[in-house]
């Protein structure tokens, strides 16, 4: 035999090379007799006890779920510049760490790649770095000290980050959106109104749609550009006249109709001063219903 009878050989062939001699080293769980004391079977004895622990955890979990509604703020708005970004709590340590001078700016690679890379890499490869046989943590001071140091910095960074966030909320006088939203929903519910954080553009109705001024609008060909229902033409950037009274005062409307505005022609020659007055009085009344 080429390899002789070395005992650490993984596969030892006995006679027929297709039959492996099983050494069972490390490959089979040790029998319970290998451990001192009272072992018990996993199913059903131990599993039932474990389910009891599971039930206690589940009850606690459901109490938390029922007492604390999951937060929901307002719909994402990319134009919102005042929003204070906040990652979930278990990323806060990294978020805070990246704010320090030697982990940001010119040194951002140090902060975003090297330090977390080394920390998480070391954690991933811990069994290959700490190769001693000793298992008790107080007998492996270096490994344990590094871990305890990391834990302290995790807790510290998370705390600083959270305090900073609270401080920022205070100086900007901001209420977190999910709290504000919940508060508003509660107030609305107390008044018996429905509440929705999703903003919908409600169409503004024409005020006094049967006013004789409408005939002037038709006669003066306002409706060719502003469309027969006066809703404008958004594609051609012709504004809607619904709710125009919220945008312009009567004097401004008189000026626009008389002299034109942007793409709109002057109606000095088409309409008499009295007609313009009548028309703009009506247009100035076009306000959103309160």
């Amino acid at each position: 035999m080429a390899h002789g009878h070395k005992s650490d050989e993984k596969i030892v062939y006995v006679g027929d090379s297709r039959i492996r001699k099983r050494t069972n080293k490390n490959s089979v769980p040790p029998d319970y007799t290998a451990f001192p004391g009272k072992s018990e079977v996993f199913i059903p004895n131990f599993l039932l006890k474990e389910w009891l622990v599971g039930c206690v955890v589940l009850v606690g979990f459901l109490v938390l779920t029922i007492s604390e509604a999951p937060p929901l703020g307002y719909p994402a708005d990319p134009t919102n510049t005042a929003f204070i970004p906040m990652p979930d709590w278990y990323f806060l340590f990294l978020y805070q760490y990246l704010k320090y001078p030697y982990a940001s700016g010119d040194y951002v690679v140090l902060g975003s790649v090297f330090v977390p890379g080394i920390a998480f890499g070391a954690l991933l490869l811990a069994p290959f770095l700490d190769t001693g046989k000793e298992r008790r943590f107080y007998r492996r001071p270096v490994t344990s000290a590094l871990m305890i140091l990391s834990l302290i910095s995790l807790v510290y960074l998370t705390k600083v980050s959270w305090d900073h966030y609270q401080h920022e909320l205070e100086i900007t006088n901001t209420v977190p959106e999910h709290i504000e939203r919940e508060e508003k929903a509660r107030e609305a519910a107390e008044k018996g109104e429905s509440f929705s954080a999703v903003k919908k553009e409600e169409p503004v109705a024409l005020v006094d749609a049967n006013d004789p001024a409408m005939d002037i609008a038709k006669a003066a060909k306002c409706i060719t550009c502003h469309s027969p229902d006066l809703n404008g033409n958004p594609k051609a950037k012709v504004p809607s006249l619904h709710g125009i009274g919220d945008v312009y005062s009567k004097e401004e409307l008189v000026n626009i109709v008389t002299n034109g505005n942007g793409g709109m022609p002057s109606f000095k020659d088409t309409l008499s001063a009295a007609e313009i007055d009548q028309l703009t009085t009506w247009l100035a009344k076009q306000k959103k219903a309160q």
Partner: protein, 223 residues
């Protein structure tokens, strides 16, 4: 009745050895809280799995209502939470469970670390466990965006800036994750797919490996 059904299946498929491999093993005294209260630290792994199962189940129910689209994502979460019967509870379970699973996994990791259970011959199981940890953090990061409120949007933007700061590949990494140059419609669908298909798939495979190894090697002995 149950016995008869079992025998009928066993006759055809010989499942008894399989069943023995999965379930028929002893639990030593030093990990049994019934004998030593301090052994409760050995429960954290099982509890992590328990919460993970809750996450999978509640997540499955959430996808019945959630719409991964920037116009409707927020509205669908809003509807789910405030209009659907027990929707608030299901979303609550998924939201708080996400934090709880991190806590449990953290405690489990610390137990394994401080009892030196990662040492030979269990090195591979530790590495797989750490990979599970990273997958869970990935699930947390991608899931945070899905409600599409301001908090979700701006947290993801910060995450993308961090990704961008990686030298050389950062810009590509960011665009790959965002599905474009901005956090927008593509990002939401991408994160949804990663959160619902890619990472859970990886998680299940890793969990299978984790459990296979613990059954094969047994629990580490008393200190």
């Amino acid at each position: 009745m149950f016995k008869a059904v079992y025998n009928w299946i066993d006759e055809r498929l010989d499942v008894a050895p399989l069943w023995r491999d999965v379930a028929d093993h002893e639990v030593p005294e030093h990990v049994n809280p019934a004998h030593h209260f301090s052994a409760f630290v050995y429960c954290f792994g099982g509890l992590t799995f328990f919460i993970t199962v809750i996450q999978i189940l509640s997540g499955m129910f959430l996808t019945m209502y959630f719409v991964p689209d920037i116009n409707n994502a927020y509205a669908s979460v809003d509807y789910l939470q405030h209009k659907v019967a027990f929707g608030g509870i299901v979303r609550g379970m998924h939201h708080w469970g996400a934090s709880l699973v991190i806590v449990m996994m953290f405690l489990h990791t610390l137990r394994v670390f401080f009892t030196g259970s990662y040492k030979a011959p269990r090195e591979m199981n530790w590495v797989v466990g750490m990979l599970i940890f990273f997958v869970m953090l990935g699930l947390g990061f991608t899931g945070y965006l899905l409600p599409w409120d301001n908090k979700a949007y701006y947290a993801t933007k910060v995450g993308m800036q961090i990704a961008e700061s990686v030298p050389y590949i950062g810009v590509y990494l960011k665009e790959l994750m965002q599905g474009g140059t901005i956090v927008g419609a593509q990002t939401l669908t991408r994160f949804f797919a990663i959160h619902v298909f890619f990472l859970p798939g990886a998680l299940l495979a890793l969990l299978a490996g984790h459990f296979f190894m613990i059954r094969k090697q047994g629990i580490s002995g008393p200190l």
